[in-house]
Symmetry: C3
Subunit: 350 residues, 3 copies
C-alpha cells in the first residue's frame, strides 16, 4: 500500500529531515538492498557503512544516531525508537493478508460448534463437536480443531495445524502449519518386558498472545495441563513434552526440546537446539544458550552453556582451558623429564 | 465416568483401607493437585510429603509403602503395583474417545480398498488404491494412506499423519498427527558437480503395538525395508533414516535422529536429542544418554554419553577432569616456576 | 517392470560377463539380500565378502574391480560407473509412480489459478488465487499452495506439504509431506516487557532441482527472500530460518538448524543435527560435521567439528587430549609431590 513520505512519518511518529514530503513510498527493505521508493532503517552501527551508497528514499534513524554520509535526496525519519517505527512502516506498506469472514462450504463442523462473529473457516478445515471459535479468528484450510477445543478471539490457525481434543487456546494466538497441539505425552511403564502406555488424559492450555511456529509439538498433560503462558513465542520444530509449565514471555528457538514436568519461568530464553531434562526449573529470565543441555535447575537470571550446561563464565573458562590442553600435555611431559633430571642430580650430588 | 470407591478398588485390584466404600470417584489426578472426589497415587518417596495436605478421596499405594500422615477421610488403595493399578483407574475414569464405525462421506477411497469390520474413516481422509485397513482401525480426519498400504487391526492414525505408498503397519499401532511414514530416504551420488538422486524404492514395515509420536519421520528403504519392531515407542520429532532396523520395545525420545542402515537392537533406549551415525549397531538394552552422538557400535547393555559418545563412567570422569582443568593450568604454571627455581638452585649449588 | 539381462545391460551401459542374456531380471536389491531374478551392485570392498554366497542373477561392478569368488551363474555387469548404472537399473525395474494428469473434483482452486499442461492435482489440495503451476507438476492430496505462489515444471509436492503465500518454486523440485515453506520467521523486539512481532513480509525462493525432505521448515524472509540454490538437497526435520541464502548443491542432513541471515555457500555440507548461528557464512564446500554448532564464519573447504565448532584436526586433538586428562591430573599430583620432596631436599642439602 503506497503512501507519501509525509503520511508515513506521521503514522510512524517520526520527524522528517530532508527529502520530498510528497514522495511516494511503496515498500520497506533492508539497508543493504533498499532502493528508490523504499524506506529502510539504520539502527545498528554495524550496517552504518551501507547508508552512503543506498538509494533508499527514506531511512528511520534514532534521535542523535551519528550517521554521516547521508546520500543526497534520502529523507531521514528521525524518531525515538526506529525499530518500532519501522515495524509500523512495514505493517502499513505490507499489510497482513485479510481473510473476509466466511465458512467455506468444504469445511466440516461437528455438532454444537459455537462460532464467534466474523470468523473465517477455510476449505477442508475440520471443527470437532462442542468446539468454540472466538470472534475474528481465522482457521485456514485443512486446520483440525478437535472436540471441546476452545479457540479465543483473533487467532490465526494456519493450514494443517492440528489441535487435539480438549485444548484451550487464548486470544491473539498464532499457530503455524504443521504444529501439533495436544498429542499424547510420551509416558510408559515397563512391565513384563513391555512398555505399558500411561493414558494421557490431560490437555494443553495456551494463554493470550502466544505464537507457535511450524511443525512444533506441544503434548497434552498425562493428568492436568501442559501450559504456555501469555506472550511466549515458540519457534519451529520445538518439542514441549507433557506437563511442562511454560511461563509468560518465554522465548524458545528452533529444534529445542523440553522433556516433561518442567517449569520454564517468565522471560526465560531457550536458544536454538537446546534441551531441558524432566522435572527441571529454568528460573525467570534465565538464558540457556544454543545447543546446551540442562540437567538441573537453573537460577533466575543465570546464563548457562554446554552439555551438561554450566554457568556461562565457567563453561567459557573450561572451553579455553581445553583449547590449551594439547599444549599442556607437552608441558607436563617436559616437567616430568626435568624433575627426573633433578632427582638424578640430587641423588648424584656430592 | 464416575465410579464408587468400591468398584474402583475391585477393578484395579486394590484393597481399601479407610474411607467410604460408596464414595464417588470422578477423576484421577496427580498427588500435588488431587482434590475431593479424585483418586491419586503415591509411588515415589520424593512426593510423600504431599500426601499429608492432600484432599484426594483415595490414593493407590504399594503394599508396605511407609506413608505416615495419611489425612483423615482419605482411603488408601493398597495394591501390588500401584502404577499399573493407577493406569487402570485412569482408563476407567477418563476413557479414551471412541469413534463409532463410519466412513465419512468426505473421505476418498481409491479402487480396490479393503476395509475391515468396524472401521472409522474421518472426513477428508484419503485411502489409496489397493490399501487394506484392518478391523477396528480408526483413520482420523485428513490422514493419508497411500497406495498398497496395509494397516492392521485396532490402529489409530491421527489427523494428517501421512503414510506413503507400500508401507506396512501392524496391529494396535498408534501414529500421531504430522508423522510421515515412508518418505524418500536421503541418498545421492555426487557426479559432475551435482547430487544425483538414488531412487528410494523400498518401504517401511512397522510391527504390532508400536506408537509413533507427532511430526516424526520414518523414511522408506532405498531398497528393502526400514523396520520398526513390535512394542517400540517413538516420541515426537524423531528422524529415522532409510534402511534402519529398529528392534522390539526400543524407546526413542524426542528430537533424536538415526541416520541410516543402523541396527537398533531390542530394548535399546535413545534419550532425547541423541543421534546415531550410519551403519552403527546399538546393542540390546544399551542406553544412549540425552544429547549424545554415537559414531561407532555400542555394546549390549552399555550406557554411553557425550558427543562423540563414550562409556558413561569414562565420559563422567572426563567431565569432572575438565572442570578441574582451569585450576590445573595454574598448578602447572606454578610447577614450572618451582622447577626453574630448583634448576637454578642446582646450578648455583656449591 | 521385468526386463531381460541383455536389455538391462544395454540400457545401463554395461558389458555382460557370464550369465544368460535372456534371463529375466525383475528387481534390484542390496548385495546382502539379492536373490535369483534380482540384480545387485558391488562397489564397496567392505561388502565384497557377500558376493560369494549371493544368489543374485546379476551384479554391477566396475571395470577392473577385483572380485574373486563370483558364484557360478551370476552375470557380471561390468561398467564405468556401477553406482550410476545401478541407479538406472533401479529406475527401470522400479519405476516411480506416475500420476495421470487430472484435477481431482475435491481440489479447491482459487480465482485466476494458472495450470500448465499435464498437471495432476489430488483430492483436497488447495491452490490459492493467482497461483501458477507449471507443466507436468504433481500436487498430491491435501497439499496447500498459497496465494501468488509459483510452482515450476515437473515438480512433485507430496500430501500436506504447505507452501505459504508468495513462495516461488523452480522446476523439478520435490517437496515431501509435512514440509512448511514460507511460515513466518522468528523475529521480535522486546519492548515494555513484551515481545513485539516483527512482520515477516518476505518470501522463499527455491531454485531448480531442489529436494526437500519431510517435516522440514523454511521460513520466509522478514523483508526480501530466503533462498535455496539449484540442486541443493535438504533432509527431514531441518529448520532454515528467515533470510538465509543457501547456495547451489548444498547438503543439509536431518535435524539441522540454520538460524537466520546466513550464507551457506555452494557445495557446503551440514551433517546431521548440526546448527549454525545467525549472520554466519559457511564457505563453499565446507563441511560442518554431525552435531556441530557453528558460531562464526567457516572458510571455504574447511571441515569443522564440535560445539562451538573448530577446525576438525584441532577438535580431534582436543578430544584426544581430554581423554588423557584424568591421567594427567594424577601425573601432576605426583609431580607436585616430587617437587615438594626436591624442594625439601634442596633446603636440607648440606
Amino acid at each position: 500500500m503506497p503512501i507519501t513520505l509525509k503520511e508515513l512519518a506521521d503514522l510512524c511518529e517520526a520527524r522528517i529531515q530532508g527529502g520530498d514530503l510528497s514522495a511516494i513510498i511503496y515498500a520497506a527493505a533492508d539497508i543493504t538492498s533498499a532502493q528508490a521508493g523504499q524506506v529502510t532503517q539504520l539502527t545498528n552501527s554495524r550496517y552504518a557503512q551501507h547508508i552512503k551508497n543506498s538509494t533508499a528514499s527514506a531511512c528511520f534513524i534514532a534521535e542523535g544516531f551519528a550517521a554521516d554520509s547521508i546520500p543526497e535526496g534520502m529523507a531521514l525519519l528521525v524518531c525515538a525508537d526506529p525499530e518500532i517505527s519501522f515495524i509500523k512502516a512495514v505493517e502499513l506498506l505490507h499489510p497482513a493478508r485479510v481473510y473476509n469472514p466466511e465458512i467455506a462450504p468444504q469445511a466440516v463442523l461437528g455438532n454444537n460448534v459455537a462460532l464467534g462473529k466474523e470468523v473465517f473457516i477455510g476449505p477442508y478445515a475440520v471443527i470437532g463437536e462442542n468446539a468454540v471459535i472466538g470472534d475474528g479468528s481465522v482457521i485456514l484450510a485443512g486446520a483440525y480443531v478437535g472436540k471441546n477445543v476452545k479457540v479465543g478471539q483473533n487467532c490465526r490457525i494456519y493450514p494443517y495445524a492440528v489441535i487435539y481434543d480438549d485444548v484451550v487456546v487464548g486470544n491473539n494466538v498464532i499457530i503455524h502449519s504443521g504444529s501439533i497441539i495436544g498429542a499424547d505425552g510420551f509416558g510408559y511403564k515397563f512391565r513384563n518386558n513391555m512398555h505399558v502406555k500411561v493414558p494421557q488424559v490431560g490437555n494443553v492450555v495456551i494463554d493470550d498472545n502466544v505464537e507457535i511456529g511450524a511443525n512444533t509439538c506441544i503434548d497434552r498433560g498425562a493428568l492436568g495441563s501442559t501450559t504456555i503462558g501469555a506472550g511466549s513465542k515458540i519457534d519451529n520444530l520445538v518439542q514441549i513434552g507433557h506437563n511442562n509449565k511454560v511461563g509468560k514471555n518465554v522465548i524458545m528457538c528452533g529444534l529445542t526440546g523440553v522433556s516433561g514436568s518442567c517449569d520454564i519461568e517468565d522471560y526465560a530464553i531457550l536458544a536454538g537446539s537446546s534441551g531441558v531434562a524432566d522435572h527441571v526449573t529454568i528460573g525467570s529470565g534465565a538464558v540457556v544458550m544454543a545447543r546446551s543441555g540442562v540437567a538441573g535447575n537453573v537460577k533466575a537470571g543465570a546464563q548457562v552453556f554446554g552439555s551438561p550446561a554450566k554457568d556461562k563464565k565457567t563453561a567459557y573458562k573450561e572451553q579455553i582451558a581445553v583449547s590449551k590442553l594439547p599444549e599442556l600435555l607437552k608441558k607436563v611431559k617436559l616437567l616430568e623429564e626435568k624433575i627426573q633430571a633433578l632427582e638424578a642430580g640430587v641423588k648424584t650430588a656430592p
